[in-house]
Subunit: 313 residues, 3 copies
């Protein structure tokens, strides 16, 4: 009796099928063949292997034969990326009702430009790892950082996705950074611009919006939002600079929100925990919130003590 | 020498086995056969395919033959859900020492009622997607939202789990929403009541408690807690309304906590970032925290400047 | 045309290969064979089965034959752990340029000591589950807690990782707790010391630093940071006590940060939401933040009302 009854399944199939043509989101089903999130995640892991063969390579590596592994990984990643990019660009073209000429050539060109960035990205990400090591007393070696630090993982994926975003590839960059978000709790939009030697410590709850600009040697902690002042106007704000600019050598401690497209945090500034900023801060300035008064209520000597002692600690 | 020695394994087996009968949590092992989290997650993904065949279907779809896919998915999801529900209800019955009559029929009835909700849920979730598109300038199309927005993912799973919760199914609804929590950082209890056109932006750190009620057209941001004032009394509070009511058209910005079962946020209210509310707010009211004084300490002209400048920016 | 051109692949292979010898992070490729994160995660799941055979066992269990399952799981976990530990210790030895004598024996000894702790860990984790049940009105039974509560999952993995950390095993403990972090948003360093009957509710955004000490019967909520005051000195602070001490019977509500190695929260203290503490608190004291003034702006009777009403609610 664990099977669904014939009558029930007929009823359900009809009801669900009937709900499909009413669907206002869909473009005609015949044309739809969507990119697959699982394959895009697979691309992320092949790219990570390419970036750090010595850490994520699946085989015993010999430095003189390393090129065979690189070649093999490149052929592999090209194949999957090509397929997914064709799907993403085809969908976009149908949606925008724009022509689809030379899609294979266009995609090959994007992939080649993207893969040519790998050596540069290797250097960038190594600097991020160095920043994590220098900035965290709990780090014992770089090995540990590469294998376990969520900040480094999220920033690495952002750096890959950002290159694809610069090449105007739709959908795929965001799927990549949202994958990192789901794994780390760190939400970096692929459109953000982030300089060298960047470290996010702990990271859960960090949000870095689409039009944020971050300089070199910046360090931020868990729960920091670099966001927009208000998105009440929604789609009217598309493309407008609405997230802050963080200049070089800035540190932003946990739980702080910095909002607005005209807000600039000057070079070398240090912003304390739990600050809420919607205006600019000059260079080399320390900003901290005046810690709100704390109320103490002791529960031991109820007779002698006032019920509430308000103290400033 | 990489094998464990015979002597050691005998010792360990005895020690661990000995720890089992002392276990105060277990009901007799013979009766225990628990639902499997992996299969419940599989159910989530089949349901998502049923809800959005055009996005998550594994095959090239033709609108005239779509019913074969729907039928196939229904048979599949029924089979797995039936098995897991029988396990969950059997465990509950043993635990409560209550009779177990007609379990197959009962389960078939629950599943049929649940699957009959699919067309309605499709409409609900499409409105959530529309809300995300309208509310987020960074969204380029609905495709991107469906494939990558954690808020939409968490709310979709909540909507499915909530229907099962209404049908008094134990354990499985919570496993579903906690899976969404693990993927998105958004913790929605399946018992909460949430209206149409709901959008959670970014989302990491959001908590929506069991007895929360949310109206239509509500938008909330990362780090918002809709929680209980205190749970010190623990199990004594079971079933008591202890989380807030949020009326229609309310916006709640990031990091805000709204606590307590008698707290009502009136229709159209806007609650700013980092507010801590334990009392009701009238309709159409804007509430913001008076931003705490910030302390600035410039580090350039140490001679001329006072060490701390307290400014209100 | 979906293949990468021969010319392009040669160019890319050369470019990427060329970037490898410049890599300052790598130790000679020939020596590198790293632990595999996937296998360490597999170890976590086997250990969880060992700890809770009645919940996670893959087979129908009979209490009189349970020892066969325990034996089988022990042999299995020993095999994988041994392999991964040899890799981790070998890498560490090469990195530190220290000798590698008797590695198999050393590893066997560590694993035996570790596995001998399983019965004790079973008891500890059962107390954590009991604490969750007693502390959360939304919990319907312990089954639900074991299968779905992220706090219990993260603390269980921490307890396993902490034992390996005490045995001076590099890398693997941190990979374990960071896996829990990625699944739950709860970041507990394996070096932290945590007493019995510990419960983290909701949990997303919690950070518990390396040198934190937590007593028995402590309860904390989402977004709590037990952190360091500043890590600007980075590696110079390695090993220094820089995170707080939380004594027995303390409750810490959501969003609170407690920072600094000399900060002690006394026995029985209750720390409210959103408190920022860098100094000690005496035993049995309640600390809450004086809730910042809220500003209300009604939008209905614009004529009669002042534009801003500042009220204390």
């Amino acid at each position: 009796m664990s099977k669904i009854s014939e009558q029930q399944i007929h009823f359900l199939v009809e009801a669900i099928e009937a709900s499909y043509p009413k669907n206002q989101l869909a473009i005609p089903l015949e044309f739809v063949s969507q990119p697959k999130r699982e394959l895009i995640i697979k691309v992320i892991f092949i790219l990570r292997e390419l970036l750090f063969l010595e850490y994520f390579g699946q085989r015993q590596l010999i430095s003189t034969t390393i090129k065979y592994h690189i070649g093999d990984l490149l052929i592999n990643v090209h194949k999957i990326l090509h397929e997914q990019m064709v799907l993403a660009l085809t969908y976009q073209a149908i949606e925008k009702n724009s022509p689809l000429d030379n899609i294979n050539e266009k995609v090959n060109e994007i992939i080649f430009l993207f893969l040519s960035k790998i050596p540069e990205l290797r250097c960038m990400i190594e600097l991020d790892i160095q920043a994590a090591f220098n900035g965290d007393p709990a780090a014992t070696d770089k090995n540990e950082i590469i294998y376990s630090y969520p900040g480094v993982f999220a920033v690495s994926i952002y750096r890959l996705a950002h290159e694809l975003q610069l090449l105007s590839l739709p959908l795929i960059p965001r799927i990549m950074t949202e994958y990192a978000h789901s794994v780390t709790g760190i939400d970096i939009h692929p459109g953000a611009t982030i300089g060298k030697y960047f470290f996010i410590d702990h990271g859960t709850g960090v949000v870095i919006g689409e039009t944020t600009t971050i300089g070199n040697n910046v360090k931020i902690y868990q729960g920091v939002t670099l966001g927009a002042l208000s998105t009440r106007e929604g789609q009217k704000l598309r493309g407008v600079k609405r997230h802050p600019t963080i200049e070089d050598d800035v540190t932003i401690y946990s739980g702080t929100s910095i909002l607005g497209g005209e807000t600039v945090i000057g070079k070398g500034a240090v912003i304390g925990s739990n600050v809420f900023l919607t205006k600019s801060v000059p260079a080399k300035t320390k900003v901290s919130v005046k810690i709100p008064e704390l109320m103490y209520k002791g529960r031991i000597n109820k007779e002698s003590d006032p019920e509430y002692m308000v103290l400033d600690i």
